[in-house]
């Protein structure tokens, strides 16, 4: 007997409608965090419950799903979320960025430029960019309402005062369409420029914090900076040790206990594709 039979894509229909309404509002107000009634999911908070709920609310039988964790298709979080949707929605899955219609991601944007019609779903731990500067939700809400973002600039300035440069290297704050300051989730700032005027729809789900926000396609996403300290991304001196790519984000891999290490692409699909070409 098949006792474990779920509704398509796991969530019940009322939950999906609630999330869908939040997604539409999020798209209409780019960068604004829409509160939603986040559900408990069959995985712990911090493992992508927000992203999973967004994906479950939008996915259909014709979608092709790709899931990445720090750029990799083959790590625990990515594998289990992919298996989850294979089981509860019976959708096709892929590791190829170009073949996917929905890409759920934890903390990276694929190296291959995304196209129109693709949806990038981010798993977000702390959606509020001002939270570590101001713990009170009542105050941060007021700051967003009044477009009062001085505190964030003070934080970046203190970076410069202390380190001589803006030392924030991930979850680097952006301003969306000249209005809301938004946390791009803990992606490396290397990926920030990819958000700007992207042809793909970008949806952000924070399960524990119960917020959904969005960046529609072709939307201005500007990383905050100063005239004399302009925004800059990480650069790497060596190419990827496996595929030889340059201009991509690299992970450091420790090889032994004598200081041996190598730098390889964080985007496994990109790395495999490059190696296949050579």
């Amino acid at each position: 007997m098949n006792i474990a039979s779920y509704n398509f894509a796991y969530l019940d229909e009322q939950t999906k409608r609630m999330i869908r309404r939040a997604i539409l509002k999020a798209i209409a107000i780019p960068g604004y965090q829409v509160p939603f009634a986040s559900r408990e999911m069959p995985m712990p908070y911090g493992w992508g419950t927000g992203g999973v709920q967004v994906t479950a609310a939008i996915i259909g039988p014709n979608d092709v799903l790709k899931v990445i964790d720090q750029g990799a298709d083959d790590t625990t979080n990515a594998v289990s979320i992919r298996a989850f949707f294979q089981k509860v929605a019976n959708v096709a899955v892929t590791t190829k960025t170009g073949d996917a219609s929905i890409i759920q991601t934890r903390h990276r944007i694929p190296e291959k430029p995304l196209g129109q019609g693709q949806v990038l779903v981010y798993q977000v731990p702390i959606p509020e960019p001002l939270r570590f500067l101001e713990p009170r939700e009542t105050e941060t809400r007021k700051m967003h309402a009044l477009e009062e973002y001085g505190l964030m600039h003070v934080k970046l300035y203190e970076d410069i005062a202390r380190h001589g440069r803006i030392a924030t290297s991930y979850a680097y704050p952006v301003k969306v369409e000249g209005r809301y300051v938004m946390d791009p989730s803990p992606t490396p700032k290397f990926d920030n420029p990819k958000m700007h005027m992207s042809p793909a729809l970008q949806l952000f789900g924070a399960g524990r914090e119960k917020r959904i926000y969005a960046v529609p396609p072709f939307t201005d996403v500007v990383s905050l900076d100063f005239e004399d300290h302009p925004f800059e991304i990480q650069t790497f001196t060596e190419p990827c040790a496996l595929c030889g790519s340059t201009g991509v984000y690299l992970d450091e891999v420790i090889l032994d206990d004598r200081g041996g290490r190598m730098f390889v692409c964080s985007d496994t699909d990109h790395c495999e594709e490059c190696r296949d070409e050579h």
Binding site: R17, R20, A28, V34, P217, F218, D220
Partner: protein
């Protein structure tokens, strides 16, 4: 209860709802694009099939719905929607999460609906306008998020002084209403971020 209230909903509610939502999501994220609706409904007149499909996809007991006089005057429409969605009816347009408008040309002005607050701009009304066409009306030029440079949409019939009303809607940002245009077999959307101008001026 009469069977007319029970029949005419989605044939496959889960997958139809998903298909209609994706069309609306694509339309909302790329304003001005016309998205085909694959799934249909068969509601009592004058409620249009596409507007009803959007309502069935998005409305439920959590979302007060406001009907314009043309829809409110027909008892079978409100009975059908109540049965299909379970949504309560809003007493005033300012209480509505969704508004269904069968006759946009004579509708009340956009500022009568909930605009959201500066703190919670999401607490605004989403208007579902029944239009006859998205291609043969007066041409509107659209710019803003979701649009690479500029695009055109020609919906009709539209509310009176729509471009001027929409300019005021833009000025209220981040507050403001969002519009779903439901034409036969297709939808297009105008989120509050979209800037509209007319070509003949």
């Amino acid at each position: 209860m009469e069977s007319t209230h029970i029949e005419g909903g989605f044939t496959a509610p889960v997958l139809d709802g998903q298909a209609v939502f994706r069309a609306v999501m694509d339309a909302m994220s790329r304003p001005g694009t016309v998205q085909k609706l694959a799934a249909g409904t068969n509601p009592p007149a004058p409620l249009a099939a596409s507007a009803a499909a959007v309502a069935l996809t998005l409305c439920d007991h959590d979302t007060p719905v406001w009907l314009d006089p043309a829809l409110k005057g027909v008892e079978t429409v409100s009975a059908w929607l109540s049965f299909q969605t379970g949504a309560p009816y809003a007493h005033t347009p300012a209480d509505a999460h969704f508004a269904l408008i069968a006759e946009p040309a004579t509708m009340i002005s956009l500022d009568n609906f909930a605009q959201g607050s500066q703190d919670y701009p999401d607490r605004s009304t989403t208007l579902i306008l029944q239009v006859e066409t998205l291609e043969a009306g007066a041409v509107l030029t659209l710019e803003g998020p979701g649009i690479e440079t500029a695009t055109r949409l020609a919906p009709g019939p539209m509310p009176r002084h729509f471009v001027e009303q929409w300019r005021q809607n833009n000025a209220r940002f981040p507050r403001g209403v969002d519009v779903i245009l439901a034409a036969p077999g297709a939808v297009a959307c105008l989120p509050r971020t979209t800037r509209i101008s007319t070509t003949e001026a």
